[in-house]
Symmetry: C2
DNA sequence: CGAAAATTTGACTATGCTCAAGGCGAGTGG
DNA sequence: CCACTCGCCTTGAGCATAGTCAAATTTTCG
């Protein structure tokens, strides 16, 4: 029942009947992962895709020297690895837990079969994929046209909005990981954040961020898409 | 019949019956565009999506100062703007012709209706969206982890492959546009290409490129994803 | 052939990366 | 309960890539 409860509230499966959900739940495998565990490696043939039930997963590309470009960090309820189901058949990037997690695995065939017979699921899936594309487009824009402080400002604004617009909130990922998401080095992120503190825009205590001057922060972020 | 001929050979519509194609063709609008004409602007509500029949279209984001991040350059047969149909309802970026073109417009409702009734079309569409995501992931990786010469080398290798692996081929876009695609400035691209010429890797005459030392070029591009 | 667009080149600057070292904090074993 | 260790973060110094501005040059098209 745990599995069904997790999927029942996801946008991806919105509009499915209780019966359909039960059917899906029956083919899903629920598996625990430790922090830092590799889920899959880029290029591996995919037999299905995953949904985060608990914990957090990063999707990333890596350079030989160990640097990483973080494409996504997914939390509870979010699906990942679907791309491989529909095109190419192999995972397009690496996936690793960043916390102790619990993941659901949905086999490819089961998904394709259901999509073929249920237009709602198909349209949900397309909406999900389209949303990702939009996000990536924003990321490419920001990497190409903006600098680190602007990207950071945009991230902080968005993070605040996700916490209902609170001025003070906690980052839910480590700063090193955030640096990877912003496409920069840990050191550069640290300095950029330091400068914001100096200028009185924000206060920082560990992962706790307090926005002191939202107006300036927004001005800095102007025109930068959500990451 | 022109419209039907164009769509009949696209991956997106593969597997559709002749009858279905005729039906689609009947709701498609065929429209000519001059070079440099705006097709749509980011944020505009989308009433449907487009397919390039002839010519070439760039999809891009732009900064207030005029700099551009080119997300795609689409040629004959390629669809664009679908994201808006499935999610959000507005176009995620700007679109402009870079050559005199002829574009097909497919209204949203017609597409959604057909997808709902035809799983083949739905799966084709998901494959197309997934392919884009893969491409974007590669672009983000290369922007984050690689430098201009490496990105350029990867582009040249790919361009050569698209021309059946010929050592000598013609770029089908202007160099300024290429710079935008590689996420760099015209001047930087020019210098990077100049260095490759100095080092005897390639010869350049206007848009004509000749690969002289494919091995070195590949070594330089190593690990960089296709853009 | 001439105007406009695209490209190249030069000089300068700056953003951000790398390498290196030091600090902080949480969890752990003694 | 405390000292220790490990992981994570910060700070400093130097350097390299690439961006900007400006101007010369080439190419494209009408």
């Amino acid at each position: 029942m745990f599995v069904k409860n997790v999927i029942a509230h996801q946008a991806l499966f919105a509009g499915l009947t209780d019966e359909q959900l039960t059917g899906l739940a029956s083919v899903i495998v629920d598996k625990p992962y430790e922090k830092g565990e590799v889920i899959f490696v880029e290029g591996t043939p995919a037999k299905g895709f995953y949904i985060v039930a608990q914990g957090r997963v990063k999707i990333f590309k890596s350079a030989p020297d160990g640097r990483e470009a973080v494409l996504h960090v997914f939390g509870p309820g979010e699906p990942f690895g679907e791309v491989a189901v529909f095109q190419g058949g192999t995972f397009p990037a690496h996936a690793m837990t960043v916390e102790k997690s619990r993941l659901l695995f949905l086999p490819r065939d089961a998904l394709v079969a259901r999509i073929s017979s249920d237009p709602t699921l198909a349209l949900n899936m397309m909406a999900a994929l389209s949303g990702r594309l939009r996000q990536f487009a924003g990321k490419i824009e920001s990497l190409t046209l903006k600098e680190t402080p602007q990207r950071l400002a945009a991230y902080l604004i968005t993070a605040s909005e996700l916490k209902d617009g609170a001025d003070s909130f906690s980052l839910d990922i480590a700063k090193g990981l955030l640096a990877g998401m912003l496409g920069t080095a840990r050191e550069t992120l640290s300095r950029a954040l330091g400068r914001m503190v100096e200028e009185g825009m924000v206060a920082v205590e560990g992962r706790q961020i307090t926005i002191l001057d939202r107006t300036s922060l927004e001005a800095l972020a102007a025109g930068v898409e959500t990451l």
